[in-house]
Amino acid sequence: MTPPDTLVEPEAPAAQAPGVVGRGPIVTTRKYVKIFRASLGERMAYRGDFLLGTVLRFLPMVTTILLWQAIFKSSGRSNLNRFTYNETIAYLLLTHISRMFSSMPGLAGGIAREIREGTLKRYLIQPVDLIGYLISYRAAHKVAYIVTSFLPYALLFFVCRNFFDTFPDPATLAGYAASLILAFLVGFFFEASVGMVGFWFLEVTSLLYIVMTLTFFISGQMLPLDLLPAPWSSFLKLLPFQYMAYFPAVVFLGKVKGTELVIGLLAELFWAVFFMIVARTLYRVGLRRYSAYGG
């Protein structure tokens, strides 16, 4: 069974674009702030459900810790490809934080649905930009998610504090924060690009399944990419997917430092911009083919 798409957070309900009119930078900002606030309220309405889901999500973490404990014990080695037991567990815990920022359940599917059902046209007749709207909406959901799951995660990290040998210095922490924000952008624009494929193929759900399944492994959610045999680890580190889970985690662990960290962040920025351009271009070209079904 493949890991469900919603593993990190419940799927966001279909976006509802409000009818806000106005021009100019202040009005524009206010417009997106309003979308942010409305979406935040919507999200907080189900906080009990949220909390339950977050608690359940720790079960696989327990088995993963035990599995790696068994692997390290059986191997009789204190480190595997420069990862100690503690670092491996800390890494796997940290990928949850990475995914908190980079996962976008329902985004691509939502865009494809708007195209298929013709509801996309409201973005064409109202002064709201689709991508701008979606990113404010997502950001709100991320904030709500992070706020509601703060306590359970704080508890988890407190219980697991012994797996963290050192606490990162301020420079590393700053790099970590930057890598997480960029992870959000890479994740958002990557999924938005996949959703835009809906202009050409009306049904992208199946494509999405394949992408999601592959991403789970090649982003490093199952194990640190360094543990993979030689050509694979370096190959996967060239791809943008590592920024959705692997990279922020190794930054926190202090495995990427100095110039390497700066280069890594720049590469992450490159991929964020790259996918932003891809999503924008696909949107622009796609709109030309768009025939607004559904009357």
Partner: protein, 270 residues
């Protein structure tokens, strides 16, 4: 009684045929579903190969034995997904919309109709793939043919499927009260993660009690462990008997709970 069973078997065959015809009218979709499962098995095997590149055993399971475990888990999950998961996943929506009324009105056992009405053929090839992995692992370890072990495996594997089904039924029944449920697919994925690895990994001061709890109180750990253990490691008669008893008990309990949940259903539509 015999007549009744025959009637249900005939009905099940019809349902299977109908869902197969539906699936085959969207062949592209079917192929994508199968390829996702192939990719997922590939990922599991890549993980397995990577880990065994660094060690020769994991929690007392050697390389081919562990591969057998992976194959058994993949097959079991394939069976659950093919025959039950989608049906149970739809249950929350049936409750929310009130469409459950239509199913309850039919002169067929409610549990059968709700949990078995559709077969998801897209995951059926998993049975072959998982079976293939098991056969390869048996070949790798040079397994000497042993009829007793094989029969014990088949019986306990059947029990494993029944236990997993019962837990899923319990989770499904909860949706009567929790309308905006987290998707059952997700809950199932999280819950079944307990059965994904050998139970010998539950070692240490805090893990051992968890292992005991999920073996003897909520016996989800029996599901793959007992059959795989009986087939390729030690045949423990006491565990086999315990698995049989748990299956019967759980089946009775989950059915009672499910019917109780149905009585609390308040038909939202009318």
């Amino acid at each position: 009684m015999g007549q009744g069973i025959l009637r249900y078997l005939r009905m099940y065959a019809q349902l299977g045929q109908y869902t197969l015809a539906r699936e085959m009218s969207f062949r592209g979709n079917f192929l994508v579903k199968v390829s996702v499962e192939v990719i997922w098995l590939g990922i599991l095997l890549a993980f397995y190969a990577t880990v065994f590149g660094m060690t020769n055993t994991i929690a007392e399971w050697n390389r081919p034995q562990y591969l057998f475990f992976v194959g058994a888990f993949f097959t079991l999950n394939g069976i659950i997904e093919t025959f039950f998961l989608e049906n149970c996943n739809d249950f929350a929506e049936l409750v929310r919309t009130g469409d459950l009324d239509f199913l309850l009105l039919k002169p067929i056992d409610e549990q059968f109709l709700i949990t078995c009405r559709r077969i998801d053929w897209g995951t059926a090839p998993n049975l072959l793939m998982g079976g293939g992995v098991m056969v390869v692992s048996l070949y790798q370890m040079g397994w000497p043919f042993d009829l007793v072990r094989l029969l014990t495996f088949l019986v306990t594997f059947g029990c494993g499927i029944a236990i997993a089904y019962c837990f899923m039924l319990l989770l499904t029944a909860l949706s009567v009260w929790m309308i905006r449920n987290q998707s059952l697919m997700e809950m199932w994925w999280l819950f079944s993660s307990l059965a994904r690895y050998p139970k010998e990994i539950f070692k240490g001061t805090w893990a051992q009690p968890i292992g005991i709890f999920f073996t003897f109180v909520m016996p989800i750990l029996l599901v793959v462990n007992v059959p795989a253990n009986a087939m390729v490691r030690a045949l423990e008669p006491s565990m086999v008997v315990f698995t049989l008893v748990s299956t019967v008990l759980l089946f009775w309990l989950s059915r009672r709970f499910f019917l109780h949940a149905l009585r609390s259903y308040r038909s939202a539509s009318s």
